[in-house]
Amino acid sequence: MNKVYADASSALAGLLKDGMTIMAGGFGLCGIPESLIIAIRDSGVKNLTVVSNNCGIDGVGLGVLLNTRQIKKMISSYVGENKTFMQQFLAGELEIEFNPQGTLAERIRAGGAGIPAFFTKTGVGTKIAEGKDVREFDGERYVMERGLVADLSIVHAYRGDTEGNLVYRKTARNFNPPMATAGKVTVAEVEHLVQPGDINPDHIITPGIYVQRMIHVPAVAKHIEQRTVRKRQKADAPAGTGEEV
């Protein structure tokens, strides 16, 4: 079975329909499946519910799907970097379901593992717990949260072999591995496409069973949201964070 497609549009062919739920990996603009997001924009599919920690920034990442008004609802933990989002939300054109970031990650992990619900301390006594089942275990209160699955997950990986085994790079891993498990279909874009056996099996993060389709994105443009650097100084700079520029 061939999992490798020529480009993002052909990899998504037949998978997109109006009103569907899509999970998109990434944290901020780090590790986002940008080629697949662009292909979703170009497809014109509408009324999407998108599960993603953030919603890109204006005109970058998932931000492009806001400009074209293809998103009906976001399930996210933080959307503070996006003016278009704020405008559409305050105008009542966009729904948002805020999830605490750990609850979001665990809902996705649970969904991928066939767990329909779980209990967590996060959000007890806050708006997040309103209307949800709250139970006491061992003297502490916990709120019930549901597992989350999607019609489609799109993820970005650093290396992938043609079987769909994936390896991520540094903090670009983030939500990508749990989302890969929680899509009915998962499409991965990989910076380096290699042959089976080229990745040490001990190092594989996402086993290929979770990946149905993939594309090779050798020249992907990466974005930095907050460029922070420190000044070069004497040999032994202290381990502090330095100075923002």
């Binding site: 944290f27 901020g28 603009l29 780090c30 590790g31 933990s77 933080y78 959307v79 503070g80 970097e81 704020m86 948002i96 805020f98 605490p100 970031q101 750990g102 609850t103 990650a105 665990e106 996705i108 967590t120 301390k121 996060t122 959000g123 007890v124 006594g125 806050t126 708006k127 997040i128 650093y158 991520y168 790079r169 540094k170 903090t171 670009a172 891993r173 983030n174 939500f175 591995p177 749990p178 993060i205 990466k222 974005h223 930095i224 949201e225 907050q226 460029r227 922070t228 650097v229 420190r230 000044k231 070069r232 700079a237 202290p238 381990a239 502090g240 964070t241 330095g242 100075e243 923002e244």
Partner: protein, 216 residues
């Protein structure tokens, strides 16, 4: 004289211990990493999926794949490990992080914390804050004592809560309070230099006790 942002961060750093795994929030808490005593082994967790977060990179060495939870470019250390978001929050919610130092809009005398939304105005989201305050062993808030003349230390929070009964310590520009989240309330344990007890009483809405050992 009230403490500066850096002095507040320096005071917060005194809560760190050798071997601690630490999560620092955005703003003043980020500055705490500048005051980790030499020789103390402290690993900083970034909830986007990294333990052992290093300093900002030198100019020209920024890596878009290597950021902290504030989306700032950072660097790797020999102690660094990476993991996915579900593992990262399992670490947080499972009680494996020793201390979280974060900012707040309001803290109440019962330990409630609000820092994620202002209804009708700010709709950014809570990010990882609710998980951190619910799961981390010790929660230290670092914030200005007042905003626009209003005490941020409240009898009860007026904004939507991030966590109920979750705060253990509050460091403001005027002093340091401990908080017994099991009903013992706030206790003032330190004053910033030249800040008097009357000053801080006049600027604090929350009721608090004063420690016998109050330091200045």
């Amino acid at each position: 004289m009230p403490w500066t942002r850096d002095q507040m961060a320096e005071r917060a750093a005194k809560e760190l211990e050798d071997g601690f795994y630490v999560n620092l929030g955005i703003g003043i808490p980020t500055l705490v990493s500048n005051y980790i005593p030499a020789g103390m082994s402290v690993q900083l967790q970034s909830e986007n999926g990294m333990l052992g977060t290093g300093p900002f990179p030198f100019e020209g060495e920024e890596d878009p794949d290597l950021i902290n939870a504030g989306k700032q470019t950072v660097t790797e250390l020999p102690t660094t490990s990476y993991f996915n978001s579900a593992d990262s929050f399992a670490m947080i919610r499972g009680g494996h992080i020793n201390i979280a130092i974060l900012g707040a809009m309001e803290v109440a005398e019962n330990g409630d914390l609000a820092n994620w939304m202002i209804p009708g105005k700010m709709v950014k989201g809570m990010g990882g804050a609710m998980d951190l305050v619910g799961g981390v062993k010790k929660v230290v808030v670092v914030m200005e004592h007042s905003a626009k003349g209003d005490s941020k230390l409240k009898k009860r929070c007026t904004l939507p809560l991030t966590g109920a009964g979750v705060v253990d310590m509050v460091i403001t520009d005027l002093g340091v309070f401990t908080l017994d989240r099991t009903g013992g309330g706030l206790t003032l344990i330190e004053l910033a230099p030249d800040v008097t007890l009357d000053d801080i009483k006049g600027k604090t809405e929350a009721s608090f006790k004063v420690a016998n050992t109050l330091q200045q």
